[in-house]
Symmetry: C2
């Protein structure tokens, strides 16, 4: 069926497997492929909404797990929803909390109905079900809500991934039945680890739900780049052509190129902001530098000579190096700003390359610079 | 003598003792009274030069002691001076490092010629003299350089303040003799603790040097507000009418009102940024709130209802409270931005009030709101 209104995805062009699309959401259109910066607790760390607009963020991600615990749904609802609370008027995607809860290991207990876990903040007990997670995300008023899924750490014991796929499908059916808000597009998440049969099964069970979009979960969790590339492509091929595809947890220039090449449209990762806070800068050519290295203390070049962001136009490496050596807040802010800009800018270039059916050459050119 | 060019001060009007002036510096004109935010190590913590322009900063302060140790004069000179290094094109004042060195206590050794001290960073030994401090500040290319002075902690042993005044005068004569750069205005610092005789003597010895400006040092170091008010006024009365007067270390709305009332033109303090990083917000009425208090977690009002800064126009207290409770960088940035804006805005209002000779009413109105 052709979807219109919030969640509608228009495929504008392709270049080999790479796709150029437009995703219509309640708070605006997201031109894809697009990187989504992570605002875990309703803030992309160190950056304001104005910064994000300036660097070209079209949509940001926030975490259901964290917002559920603090400040909680009541406060966000009282503020008029998550957009007003964090003063961001473009689209927001919330993850389902599944990934965070399953990272807690000893602090959570999974059953067929849902998952009970303890807060990392105060030890209090909470429970997620497919239904109450969708209800929470709808209450926040987000543009894209991710379904509660079951993630499995790799390597996993025999049968664990199969169980995760079974529950993920069951929960997706329940979440879909509980979905009531038209302005929130509900996305399913394909699991299956590094097992083609299970990936195939997970996709084939979720696609009939005819959700507005699908994510590829359970990758970028420690497997090799080759495995990630292979399973991203394998899974993407089993998703509908006319729905957006979202690879969770990917956030370096090189990994984005691999994922776009596999036909993925959306990506998120804490990497650009987290690495920025630690002095690590992403460059347009896919390489990275640590500004804390002694070699930069007298370097009067911009952080990334190929970059046109405000940080690169304003400051020299010597100054950024000084800020990190002195432990200054401003350094974390400036490198976060630059790093997210780089991913947005590379995605903007990728969109242009796909539009002129020049994706393979574009990808090869970046990879050659970084060989 | 009437000074022209960098350092020239024009007294545009008075209202009782309060003064409305214009200070012409190499990188622009500073309209006084004016608060100068502190950028200790060449960054006003958490804020960019663009933020500072936006909130109305006319001049910022940086610390000779800190910059001497890290990144050092060679790096800043290689960058083309402090303005280019920190990407700030408006005026900069550097303090002399005296206050920091004398705070080190056990780590410094004072003699008539200068002061030897150990770096708080790596324990290395350094020496300041009136001559090498002026040379360092000139090398940075700053608009206002403070003379190396001798600060004394209060209460001080008998004779300690007298010694400090004697050395401060001697060092001021030597610093003045060493001063070569016309684009850097050299300011003297009056010492004398809470002793009228010594304040009188310090001022009377420094004024004949005919420096472009004078600071009132050794206050705002733990004395009562009444003492601060009395000695600020006492000292200001002994300074030339046609030179700018700078009270060091003052940075709350209420203290600024007291100082402007005493006829002071310039102020600096880490307070608005430091308190902002700890969740403390300055309000226009002179009161302060701690955004971490439980009462603000569901408060949908702006931080300061009387404020027109971008933070107050964009966010609600509940969100700022959430940022601090979650330990988010953005909270520190936003409260620092707001707090400095408040001091700039109150000073802008003060300038307008003095211009229409309505200073006493303006001051009383704020103090009444905060009674």
């Amino acid at each position: 069926m052709i979807r219109t209104g919030p969640g509608a995805f228009t495929l504008r062009g392709t270049s080999e497997r790479a796709r150029r699309g437009s995703l219509e959401l309640a708070h605006g259109i997201v031109e894809t492929p697009s990187f989504m910066p992570v605002g875990t607790v309703a803030t992309v760390k160190g950056l304001t909404p104005r910064d994000l607009r300036e660097i070209g963020s079209q949509i940001v991600l926030a975490n259901t797990y964290h917002l559920w615990l603090r400040p909680g749904g009541d406060t966000i609802a009282a503020a008029g929803g998550l957009h007003r609370f964090m003063a961001w008027d473009r689209p927001i995607l919330t993850d389902s909390g599944g990934f965070q809860v399953f990272s807690l290991e000893s602090q959570r207990k999974l059953d067929d109905d849902g998952v009970t876990f303890r807060s990392h903040i105060d030890g209090s007990t909470h429970r997620f079900t497919p239904e109450n997670v969708v209800a929470f995300e709808e209450r926040l008023g987000v543009d894209i809500a991710m379904m509660l899924d079951v993630c499995t750490k790799l390597p996993a014991p025999d049968g664990a991934i199969e169980d995760a796929v079974r529950r993920t499908t069951d929960w997706a059916r329940r979440g879909t039945a509980a979905w009531t808000r038209g302005a929130t597009a509900l996305f399913g998440i394909v699991q299956g680890g590094l097992d083609e049969r299970l990936r195939e099964r997970s996709a084939s069970e979720l696609v009939p739900l005819d959700l507005p979009g699908y994510a590829i979960g359970g990758l970028s969790v420690g497997e090799t780049r080759e495995e990630m590339a292979r399973f991203t492509r394998f899974t993407a091929e089993r998703l509908p052509v006319d729905k957006p595809r979202y690879l969770m947890g990917v956030g370096t220039v090189r990994d984005l190129l691999v994922a776009v090449d596999a036909g993925v449209d959306l990506f998120d990762c804490v990497y650009p902001t987290r690495s920025g806070r630690h002095g690590r800068a992403l460059l347009h050519d896919g390489s990275e530098i640590n500004i804390r290295n002694a070699t930069y203390t007298r370097d009067m070049a911009p952080l990334d000579p190929a970059c046109s962001c405000d940080v690169c136009l304003t400051y020299e490496r010597a100054y950024l190096s000084h800020l990190f050596r002195a432990g200054e807040l401003l350094g974390m802010r400036l490198l976060s700003y630059h790093n997210v800009f780089v991913l947005h800018d590379v995605m903007a270039q990728a969109r242009a390359a796909i539009e002129r059916d020049a994706w393979p050459a574009f990808r090869q050119e970046i990879e050659a610079r970084n060989a």
